[in-house]
């Protein structure tokens, strides 16, 4: 039996801004199809840069990043991307914001609009479709951004600390929404965060990054679907402290 081909294969990836110190320094990390990968590390450890490399927004100076068919990654509608800020277009209605990835490719059809309505319904935003982003709360804006990232049903979803600015309860709700929608479609996810418990709660695998290097790739064997009460269990906290020790141990 052969090992399944990784969905996105990062091999010995190196990247430095403007010829300085390598911000990503020889990372090898194959992402398995359908898995939820979390990348955790302190601010400035290079995790956002690695995400941009995985998106094809940056090209590695050495090493390779290949998709399962062997081609290098490039930005485009096959990828879903979610930023730290919701980054909505303030002059367009919620529904048009969700449909933006479609309307940049072609004129949205009735099926696209129906899909957008479905996504908004699943995220509890049915009544807000005709509103403008400024009329929504921060959590609702993040949900719109999530719907926009998922509208083209991308095989790979990349998220850069998307919930960092939200309060704990809203963040928990969005985490559950995200996992539910991704499991439903079998989406492969790369989720960057600095929050260890968020990484453990969401991830099938947690990569721990420090100063451009991958310190550990930990498989989280917690039952799915996970609920927020899981956070109080001992296994959960053992994972968290293991990652915490990996991160702090490297600093000394």
């Amino acid at each position: 039996m052969s090992v399944a081909q990784p969905f996105l294969d990062m091999q010995q990836v190196v990247y430095a801004y403007g010829g300085g110190r390598s911000i990503v320094d020889g990372i090898t990390w194959p992402l398995a199809t359908g898995d939820f990968h979390c990348l955790v590390g302190r601010s400035g450890c290079g995790k956002t840069t690695l995400l941009k490399l995985a998106a094809g927004l940056l090209a590695p100076q050495s090493g390779s990043i290949r998709q399962s068919d062997g081609t290098p990654v490039s930005p485009g509608p096959q990828l879903g991307y979610m930023f730290q800020a919701p980054t909505l277009l303030s002059w367009q209605r919620v529904i048009d914001n969700v449909l933006l990835p479609v309307s940049l490719q072609r004129r949205p059809m009735a099926a696209d609009v129906a899909r957008a309505q479905d996504l908004l319904a699943m995220l509890g935003l049915t009544d807000h479709a005709r509103h403008y982003p400024r009329q929504l709360s921060g959590g609702q804006q993040s949900r719109v951004a999530l719907a926009r990232a998922l509208i083209l049903e991308p095989a790979l979803l990349l998220l850069d600390e998307p919930f960092a600015a939200l309060d704990a309860i809203t963040r928990g709700e969005l985490q559950d929404d995200l996992v539910r929608l991704c499991r439903l479609r079998g989406t492969t996810v790369l989720f960057v965060t600095h929050d260890i418990s968020e990484a453990v709660y969401l991830g099938d695998r947690v990569g721990v990054m420090h100063e451009g290097r991958m310190l550990a790739d930990i498989r989280v064997e917690l039952p799915t679907p996970r609920t927020q009460s899981l956070r109080h269990g001992t296994t959960f906290n053992q994972y968290c402290s293991r990652i915490f020790e990996t991160m702090t141990g490297a600093g000394q």
Partner: protein, 253 residues
């Protein structure tokens, strides 16, 4: 809504009060109508020139020059702003010329334009267009450059073409700034049209002012000034209405 009406009412009351004070001072001090006519004399001059049909062709000429100049100069400025914002090469090559062309006072060019384009409305339109060019170019350039980096990255991620990024992101995001440029250009266009008529025109409110000066008809001069003020006010208000409509999706701006 009520407080708006209230402040409008106060504005109007202040205007009427100023007219009364003006009338009173001129009558008391017995100032000659050649120096400063009373508002009632100005009103009579305005009424007679409007009802006799004397002033209308001049109003039409000034409005035509102003709007043509505004449209031509504004569209050219908008296009240049887009070109300079999109191409760093064009920006480096053309910017010095653009700036030099703008620091030369265009009113000083009016005699030259008369020489080139004759005494019709053309020299005034050209000058007005040149005046309107700069605010549109500057505001467009600045607005397009200020687009949020995250939104630009979003469009890159979504595989948007350069044209799509311009039309779907940069221009809509810059719309408030671009409209502010149009508002400034509108006011400058009226000044440009009137001053252009001072120098080389037989028609238009600027020409009326010069003619009134020659005939020592100060009330007529004031009547023309009043007409210019009303044109400016109405156009500015119309612009505000358009702006408010276009910016409604943008919320409180």
């Amino acid at each position: 809504m009520r407080s708006v009406l209230h402040s409008r009412g106060l504005s109007l009351a202040l205007f009427l009060a100023l007219l009364v004070v003006w009338e009173f001072i001129v009558r008391q001090a017995e100032i000659s109508a050649l120096v400063l006519p009373t508002p009632s004399a100005v009103g009579r001059a305005l009424w007679s020139t409007l009802s006799s049909g004397y002033l209308w062709p001049h109003i039409e000429a000034t409005l035509t020059e102003m709007l043509l100049g505004l449209a031509l100069g504004g569209i050219a400025g908008l296009a240049m702003g887009v070109a300079l914002a999109e191409s760093a090469l064009l920006d480096r090559v053309l910017k010095p010329y653009v700036i030099v062309s703008q620091v030369v006072p265009k009113l000083a060019l009016a005699p030259l334009f008369v020489l080139w384009f004759g005494f019709g409305i053309l020299p005034t339109v050209v000058m007005t267009a040149l005046i309107c060019f700069f605010p549109l170019m500057e505001n467009t350039l600045t607005s397009l450059r200020q687009v949020d980096a995250n939104r630009l990255q979003l469009f890159r991620m979504l595989g948007a073409s350069r044209l799509q990024t311009l039309l779907r992101l940069k221009l809509p995001a810059g719309l408030p700034g671009i409209l502010a440029g149009w508002r400034v250009a509108l006011v400058l266009a009226l000044v440009g049209a009137v001053v252009g008529e001072f120098i080389g025109a037989s028609k238009g409110l600027g020409a009326v002012i010069i003619a009134a000066q020659g005939m020592m008809d100060t009330p007529l001069m004031f009547a023309a000034l009043a007409a210019i003020a009303v044109i400016g006010l109405l156009c500015y208000q119309a612009m505000l209405v358009v702006e408010r409509r276009l910016l409604r999706p943008y919320g409180e701006h």
